[in-house]
C-alpha cells in the first residue's frame, strides 16, 4: 500500500512489518514488553509529516476521536 508521501512507501513497509509482528506475537498475547519499532517509526513519521505539510493536508491539531463527542447522544 502506498504512503501519501511518494518517497515514504519503503519506510512505511518496514515499519508496518515490524508493527504487525509485534502486534500479533507480543501485544495480543498480553506481553507488555516495549514495542521494538520506535526507530523505524521515527524515520517513517518524519518522512510522512513532510509530505503532509507539502500537500497541506488538514490533520494538525485534530483531537483524538474528536467527532465522537458530538455523537455521544445520537
Amino acid at each position: 500500500m502506498n504512503s501519501v508521501g511518494e518517497g515514504c512507501t519503503e519506510l512505511k513497509r518496514e515499519y508496518d512489518q515490524c508493527f504487525n509482528r509485534w502486534f500479533a506475537e507480543k501485544f495480543l498475547k498480553g506481553d507488555r514488553s516495549a514495542d521494538p519499532c520506535s526507530e523505524l517509526f521515527l524515520k517513517y513519521h518524519t518522512c510522512v509529516q513532510k509530505a503532509i505539510k507539502e500537500k497541506d493536508i488538514p490533520v494538525e491539531g485534530v483531537e483524538f476521536m474528536g467527532p465522537n463527542r458530538e455523537k455521544a447522544d445520537s
Binding site: 504512503s3 515499519y15 504487525n20 498480553g30 517509526f41 474528536g66 445520537s74
Partner: protein, 255 residues
Amino acid sequence: MIMYCSVIIIVTRARTLTRARARTEGGNAADVGDVHAELRDYYRLCQWGSAGLVMMGKYFFSETDIKSTWDQVLAAFWQRYPNPYSTHVLTEDVLFREVTPDNLLLSRRLLTKTSRLPRWAERVFPGNLSRSVYIIEDSVVDLGNRSLTTLTWNVNHAKLMRVVERCVFAGEQDRPVWTRITREAWISSGVFGLSRPIQEFGLARFRSNQVKAMKGLEHALSNLQKASAVCPGDSAEKQKNLNSASKTQKPQQYI
C-alpha cells in the same frame, strides 16, 4: 452570539431490515452470520442567536457476525489494504501510535480515497474533482475487553458531505470463534438546497463501501490464515517457500 445544537432523532423513515443470512463468495475463511441493519433520519437543530437552522442527516446502523476469532480480525484489520475491493483507497499511513499505561493501543491512520461524485454533483462542484478525500481513522484496541473501537471521518470536503463512522469489533467470551462488528454512520451535508440528494448519494456510497470493507477484511483474514497454515512434515521446507514467496510478491505478514 452563542450557537448551540441539540440532536433530535426523528424517526420519520425507520426501516428495520429483517435478519438475513449473508454468505460470502468463494468459500472465504470468514463466514458472515446474521446481519441486522437500521436506517433513520436524524435532525440536528441549531440555534444561532435568534435564528434557527436545521441540518439534516442520515444515521445508519448495522451489526454483523463474522466467523473469525477476535485476534485474527485484529491482525487483519491492520493489513487489509490493499485488497481487490479497495481500489478507491489510494494511500494509507500511520500518523500516531501509543500504548497507554493501562495497555490500550491508540492509533491514528490517514487514508486518501478517490473523490467519486455522481455526475450531477461534478457539474455543481467542479473544484472537487481534482482533490482526493482525506480521512482520519482513530482507533482504540482494548485487549482486556477484547474490543476494537474505530472512528473514521473525512477532514476535507466536509461542507459538501461529512461521514462519521464508528465501528466496534468485539470478541465474545461465550462464542470465541465469532467476532461481532457493529457499524454506525452519520452522513450529513451542509450545502443549502442540495443536502438531501447529497445525503442519499452519501448513504448509497457508504453502503457499497461497507460491503467492500467487509470483503476486504475477509480477504486479509484469508491471506493471514493461508500464511500461518501449518503443514505436517518439513517445517524448514515451509519456511523456504514462504521466503521465496515474499521475494516475488509484496511482503507477506505471517504470524
